[in-house]
Symmetry: C2
């Protein structure tokens, strides 16, 4: 065996199992609920490929929107708003204008949805579009390898890989640059910031680490890159993470309604102990009841309702 499929040798960063044990480290220090939520958010966001700075930007944007909200509620008063939130009135003005221009004109605020995972997700499509591969033909674009080398490399490529050509370093780099370009064009913000070497390497590692791109290495030869998957996300884990975040956001909204004592809102919290052998049975009974309950009251022409339930082990 002269060549190896270089799979990520380090444990995947998306592996939240390990993280969860670490998580408890951070629940120990004094932290209120908001701190915990923030930490879990940061973990989820950054583990799924968001940049460090992107998360900070998103948090800043959220805070800016909060400032804008109180600005409106305070009768468009810069000084008072600034005093309430301990911000320079001058800065408040800038923030307000920024948010307003985002609401009126199409300008985007820096949110996570305008950020990189989208880049990473888009890459497979771009690769397949620019460098498609037709069965029977050679997967190589350029001719830097001998016939024998090619066949050795192609043996490493399993047939269930996406139908895309292999790329050398330069071609792969050009692809990433193209990716960055198109993504920035798609959001008509304003700034096409030049891509930096550091950013390219970051994206590259993310792609490799997630298995979206696979690096084929012959010893003593330059590396070759193959598209490993048609979607960025590592298996179904990502779907569950996404569903989790949707649920939490939704749950949060419902709870806000509960705080405001809006009618038609239920907040329930039950703590209890269950015998280990009864646990699954209990959960299934609960699950079944919910479904039948929703079915029972469902009427085509009614108020749209939603029910969120989560049950599990209680941290003591």
């Amino acid at each position: 065996m002269t060549g190896t499929l270089s799979s990520p040798k380090h444990s995947s960063i998306d592996n939240l199992d390990d993280l969860h044990s670490e998580t408890k480290l951070f629940q120990v220090p004094n932290s209120c609920s908001i701190d915990q939520i923030l930490f879990q958010l940061a973990l989820s966001a950054m583990a799924s490929g968001h940049r460090y700075g992107a998360f900070l930007d998103a948090a800043t944007t959220a805070a800016k929107c909060a400032i804008y909200a109180t600005y409106l509620m305070q009768g468009r008063n810069f000084r008072r708003t600034g005093l309430l939130h301990h911000v320079d009135p001058k800065r408040v003005k800038e923030i307000v204008q920024e948010v307003q221009s985002a609401l009126t004109e199409g300008k985007w605020l820096k949110t996570l949805s305008t950020e990189e995972p989208q880049h990473l997700i888009y890459l497979p499509h771009l690769w397949l579009k620019i460098h498609p591969w037709q069965a029977g033909k050679s997967r190589f674009l350029s001719d830097e390898f001998s016939i024998r080398q090619r066949s050795r490399i192609e043996k490493l490529v399993s047939d269930d890989l996406p139908k895309a050509c292999l790329l050398n370093s330069d071609q792969f780099l050009a692809l990433i640059q193209q990716l960055h370009l198109e993504v920035q064009e798609s959001s008509p913000a304003d700034s096409y910031a030049a891509i930096s070497d550091a950013l390219v390497e970051h994206i590259k590692l993310r792609l490799l680490e997630s298995g979206t791109v696979i690096q084929l290495s012959l010893p003593e030869e330059p590396p070759v890159y193959a598209l490993g998957r048609t979607t960025y996300s590592p298996k179904d884990k990502r779907e569950r993470v996404s569903a989790m975040l949707d649920d939490v956001a939704d749950f949060f909204t419902l709870m806000q309604a509960w705080v405001n004592c809006e009618p038609g809102v239920l907040r329930g919290l039950e703590t209890f102990n269950v015998a280990p052998e009864q646990r699954e049975e209990a959960l299934q009974e609960l699950d079944k009841f919910m479904q039948s309950w929703a079915d029972k009251y469902h009427q085509r022409e009614g108020l749209p309702m939603i029910l969120h339930v989560a049950a599990g082990q209680r941290r003591v």
Copy 2:
């Protein structure tokens, strides 16, 4: 009427009812779940008295912890961690050391729990400790007012106010400075940053705005401050907000367990429509069932379990 109890003339910033309508403004632009959660978090945090910068610091801290987590998972590799999160390896090292020193030594990271609302919450206790008032005696500490003025001011003070003395501007300011000092001492971090005028004014406005402190004004006379409430929080609203945040954090944790497919975790989501006249009935039935369900399976010596439920109108 020559004097007035100056109640906050602007709508209370804690009034989330108004905010909720505004909230929808921000749900319109493209934002993923994380953005929404961040926004709701920022709104909750800053509406309840946290500083703008404090929220940013907390978010940064959360992201730093996330970096530290991946640093550990990557085998204590600075470069790789930096590449994964697009952070300078040098910066990664600083962050790692910061988090580690927070875990090993008692050093605190900048979290919301080490921040101001605690200051604001502590103020009533401090006031009552330093300047208690005994029934029958004068509520004044100094002698800057004439007898007649005093009686006119004291008429403004309703008897159900906390048993604390009245303060003039200087005394009130000194109290805030003392507050800042003691709070900083209590957390043995390291830095006793000097308090700035801007911060004092921020705290002052927060206290007045929440009704914790009341400003009594005689026309043409310097203002007098009275302790308006023994707790910072405006009525029960605050409790509900706190409960909401606890629930969300908890729900988030449960969902993480669900993502990891841990055993004994249930995630339920039901969407349906309900006839308006049946809504309350349905919710009550659900509530009742949950309670009886938890009762039914409860056993003293069992696995500690928790159940979170939220139901309400579905955003379409």
